[in-house]
């Protein structure tokens, strides 16, 4: 065998040996595990946020069962609606980041649930605004309430 050929084989043997050693030392399984852990953490964080947003939506709904007839409370409600709108904008901004992950197939279901919760939250503060500020101003609506109370 020519010396050059021998050297090339030897070099390849060295390369395989060192790669094998590196693979054993720096296990990619460990890296995959930490990547999967990060995905699980992300999913957990999204689920927590989703639960929190849905609870807020429920709280806004509950307010519609209070009898509010003074301006001070109405002003507080107005603040609450404004704050809710602000929170909604922030949540939507965050969602756009999460949605990028969804397109890559990461936490698809959790991101979908998170968006549905944001939509429910928006619906709740929009309804709250309707109940205390818009519907009572519709003459037809007030008249129907009056007539129903007489039935």
């Amino acid at each position: 065998m020519e010396c050059a050929t021998k050297d090339r084989i030897k070099n390849t043997v060295d390369e395989v040996r060192s790669t094998s050693f590196e693979e054993k030392i720096n296990s990619s399984e460990e890296k995959i595990n930490s990547f999967l852990d990060a995905i699980l953490d992300f999913k957990g964080m999204l689920e927590e946020k989703t639960t929190k947003i849905l609870k807020l939506a429920d709280k806004l709904e509950e307010i519609t069962w209070f009898t509010i007839d003074d301006n001070e409370c109405l002003m507080l409600l107005n603040d609450l609606i404004a704050q809710s709108k602000d929170l909604h904008s922030t949540l939507i901004r965050n969602y756009t980041h999460f949605a990028a992950l969804k397109t890559k197939g990461i936490a698809k279901e959790e991101v979908k649930e998170y968006k549905a919760a944001i939509d429910d939250f928006k619906e709740s503060f929009s309804d709250l605004e309707s109940v205390f500020f818009y519907l009572p101003e519709l003459p037809q609506f007030k008249e129907t309430t009056r007539e129903l109370s007489l039935l």
Binding site: T64, T67, D120, S126, Y134, Q140, F141, T144, T145, L151
Partner: protein, 134 residues
Amino acid sequence: MQIFCIDEFKAEFEKLISKKQYSTLEKEIIDYFFHKNTDELLSGTRLNNSQDTPYIKKRVRGKGGFRLYFLVLIRKGNLYLLFVHPKTGPFGASNITDESKAMLYKNVLQAIKNNDLYLLELDKKQKHLIFLRK
């Protein structure tokens, strides 16, 4: 508690259950409204600020994300279904306008006055709704 509905509800219900995507609607309505006492049904968004005759919008967090609009005449122990819409799918809508809410409200009042209602009952297996013209 007796459960009634107006024409708008029946028409929308029949339109929705004809679609596979909304096949859970009937079960969700049965589970939510039947065999319940009044107190159990007084939740959701109260639209009319009334203690005796609450007009309610209920978000049902099931597969279709249905929104149900109904009125409860507490004194009479009657419940009237006004409208239903899904949140998602081909007939999905995020909400209905205030004018539509007011129109449905007016329509149920007229229907009660004219006795132009359907009484809702369950079939023998308690799996399907039966609409009986009053």
